[in-house]
């Protein structure tokens, strides 16, 4: 790959987010559309940091009820259980399905936490125009883009069980309000990751190159 060692924006070139075509955008103030696919062109996603913070803070707030409220109620003639995300995992572990417990733990605890913390770190580092390990930070962003969707796992499990196990007094499974909050956290963090513009990580570096 031949290197020009410059960001596209530095040369007033703008890459289309839909079709990847690089085209010149000279008048900063006026909206320009991609000549190939008509998508509105931006050097950087507009208001990326502010929008990402807003979605992330909303996700943090909902993360509390998502973990404290009941996600699933299981009732039968002989027993009744009301599970939060964590107690459900502990129950799975104790009843011997430790493999499933680990999978659910990764999807419902590790991944949402990883997303919340990573996005916070990325946003703070971008706002402080940090020069610290841009390559690793970009990799971190790609990782959360890639794994974020897997936290929907619990939502699907609750849906399937609540729909299938409707046997009246024999056995009934109900989805709890925690599931709604958890679903909202997953969707909000996905939107937050989509709003974040990883090119902002590299911009402080570019400026430095120019001064040198």
């Amino acid at each position: 790959m031949s290197r020009l060692a410059s960001s596209a924006a530095n040369r007033m070139l703008c890459s289309c987010q839909v079709c990847n075509l690089v085209s010149r955008k000279t008048q900063l103030a006026y909206p320009a559309h991609c000549p190939r696919c008509g998508t509105l062109l931006h050097f950087r996603r507009p208001a990326s940091v502010a929008r990402c913070w807003a979605l992330l803070i909303a996700a943090y707030i909902l993360y509390i009820p998502a973990n404290l409220l009941t996600i699933m109620e299981t009732g039968s003639l002989f027993s009744y259980r009301s599970d939060t995300i964590m107690s459900g995992i502990v129950h799975l572990w104790k009843t011997g399905s430790w493999m499933i417990a680990v999978i659910v733990f990764i999807a419902s605890v590790t991944i949402p936490l990883l997303k919340l913390i990573s996005l916070t770190l990325l946003l703070i580092s971008v706002q402080r125009r940090s020069l610290w390990r841009p390559r690793e930070r970009t990799r971190l962003f790609r990782l959360i883009e890639l794994v974020g969707r897997w936290s929907m796992l619990d939502i699907y499990v609750v849906t399937l069980l609540a729909a299938l196990v409707q046997l009246g007094a024999m056995a009934t499974v109900k989805a709890g309000p925690g599931a709604v909050a958890f679903g909202a956290v997953v969707v909000l963090t996905m939107f937050a990751a989509m709003q974040f513009d990883p090119r902002l990580i590299w911009d402080p570096l570019q400026r430095k190159d120019l001064h040198d």
């Binding site: 559309h33 609540a162 090119r199």
Partner: protein, 210 residues
Amino acid sequence: MADRPAQLIACHYCDLLQREIPLNPGCTASCSRCGAVLYRNATDSIDRTLAYTLAAAVLFAVANTFPIFSIEVQGDRSAINLYGAVASLWDQEMKSIALLVLITAIVMPAVELISMTYLLLPLKFRRVPPGCALFMRTLRYVEPWGMVEVFMLGVLVSLVKLTSSFKVIPGIALWSFGALTLLLAAVASSFSARDVWARLEQGNKERGEP
């Protein structure tokens, strides 16, 4: 409005401007600064993706009509398919969850398969479908929200949870979902937006349009 510097590509992750180089089939070009994938040379991208898409569409229809699995307790039998599960959650006043599952497991994958077919079928016969830019944009925005593979894992986890208290009978849709997951992965890995755009531009040129 814009002129077009030939064969430049900017990394979507770090905005580094680079020149495109020809690749051997099956190879991937990655950004020299951050390592993100820039583009791939997928062999017969359009033909292969179309074949996988059509096969996936058939399996998607099967997976949505037939029961995923059923449970049996003292002669009572309860079976569900995907749409039934969504409808049941809706009736249990869990409307937001029902909608979330409907969108991520049914609507988005369906939109993806329809858009792919709409774009690739005419392109295979060297025709340019009208409104192709709109469909390419749709594909890009839909892609993160189709979660068939996560749903498949959800099915497996539920299966294990259920076997501890019920007799579980797997249904046809269970196998179809498994195969659908693999086919959608094949669609994603063989699809190359770059090839589609190249074909579209070529088609437009042949019709004498700018």
